[in-house]
Amino acid sequence: MKRLVSMTVNGEEIELAIPPYRTLLDVLRNEGRLTGTKKGCDVGDCGACTVIMDGSPVNSCLVLGIEAEGATIETIEGQHAGPDLPHLIQEKFMDHGGAQCGFCTPGIIMMTKALLKENPNPTESEVRFAIAGNICRCTGYAKIVDAVLAAAEDLRKGRTL
């Protein structure tokens, strides 16, 4: 008993037939063919599946796909402007070594975007608090924090998210 669900993903309205027990994460990855959002634990412990839903960062593994009816979803694939045109936050992650294996990166970038929208001038501890639910096992977080703070600094110089 699939249901038709329509949502706006990265600015594009899509309609998908999905069973009610499928998570938004699985819907995005399978039916939506957007595999940039990662499944690291599937139970809300790691943050790799973070997307922005109606303006708020959520673990898409803990959202049912059918709940996204009418919702606006932002995923990692919708952030850059084109080939070689990274989003400000992506640019900083590239230049500061914020991504190593990259599996946690889409989730952390989406979380960073949500943070900077709310608080464009975060302290280091505010950054660490904001990404507390995003597990990175490669970097020790130092370079991720560097990247987020560098993005915030560029925001202060007039760049936009």
Binding site: T23, N59, G133
Partner: protein, 287 residues
């Protein structure tokens, strides 16, 4: 995830009727952050999910100096955490909520859901017990109100009867000279299940401690009051020796278990340390 049927009741009456009709395999879905994990990990057999987000009136949050704080079953943890009134008047609740999972989880999880899950280690429950909060419950036979303190009957078990739904929480207004604190003990600074949680709510009043309530999480089958510790402190000028005595009493009131997270002995020890520290913070706090 094991397949289930999905329902979107439009009213409390409809939700309640569905719960009654569908029986034990039916579960209320609000934030989903616990429920979906329990279904995925096969900790719970759920054949019907009732999403109550389409029911109007459950997402209100209000604070009034005379009336206190009220919020509905759909109010998320993150909304409580960032609400100016909560931050100012209920710092114990604000702290506890900010320690629940991640921001992503808190954007979905509801405080009422955290309560209804009835985990002995739930972060939001001790401050609500300490603040003498009550729950509004809608059921097939009407409405009733239950103190948070009296809501739990065991791990994962509550006084809710068939067809009953918790619709909101009411927290009494803080006294002019109130002091509140919550301290959580875990191995990490975030993404933790409390090994011990201690909440304190007191009114310094004239004596320095006219009234005090202490609630302990993760050290008994349900969150509990440390009544003997409270009695030692109530109406007394608190000095370090008295505080140590009260901490000792709180330790003796707890009946923790040992598991992979911590041993019973260590949990009991931490009840002592954290009770002392939390009362200390609450005594210092100035709203």
């Amino acid at each position: 995830m094991r397949p289930f049927e999905y329902h979107e009741p439009k009213s409390l009456a409809e939700a309640s009727a569905l719960l009654c009709a569908l029986g034990a395999g039916a579960s209320i879905f609000a934030g989903g952050t616990d429920l979906l994990v329990e279904i995925k990990e096969e900790l719970r057999s759920v054949s019907h999910v009732l999403n109550i987000k389409k029911i109007e009136g459950l997402d209100a949050l209000s604070f009034d100096k005379a009336e206190g704080l009220s919020f509905g079953a759909l109010v998320t943890a993150r909304r409580i955490e960032t609400d100016a009134a909560v931050l100012r008047h209920y710092p114990n609740l604000a702290t506890a909520v900010s320690l629940l999972g991640s921001i992503q989880v808190r954007n979905r999880a509801t405080v009422v859901g955290n309560i209804c899950r009835a985990s002995p280690s739930a972060d939001t429950i001790p401050p609500l017990i300490a603040d003498a909060a009550t729950l509004s419950i809608h059921g097939p036979t009407g409405e009733r109100s239950v103190a948070v303190e009296d809501f739990f009957t065991g791990p994962g078990r509550t006084v809710l009867k068939a067809g009953e739904i918790v619709t909101g929480v009411h927290v009494p207004p803080p006294a002019a000279t109130s002091g509140k604190a919550y301290i959580k003990h875990g191995r990490r600074k975030a993404m933790e299940l409390a090994t011990v949680g201690v909440a304190v709510s007191l009114d310094r009043g004239r004596s320095g401690c006219d009234e005090i309530r202490i609630a302990l999480g993760a050290v008994a089958a349900t969150p509990i009051r440390a009544r003997k510790a409270e009695a030692l402190l109530r109406g007394r000028a608190i000095d370090p020796a008295l505080l140590a005595e009260a901490a000792e009493a709180a330790m003796n009131e707890s009946t923790p278990i040992s598991n992979v997270r911590a041993s019973a002995a260590y949990r009991r020890d931490m009840v002592g340390v954290l009770t002392r520290r939390a009362v200390g913070i609450a005594l210092e706090a100035r709203p």
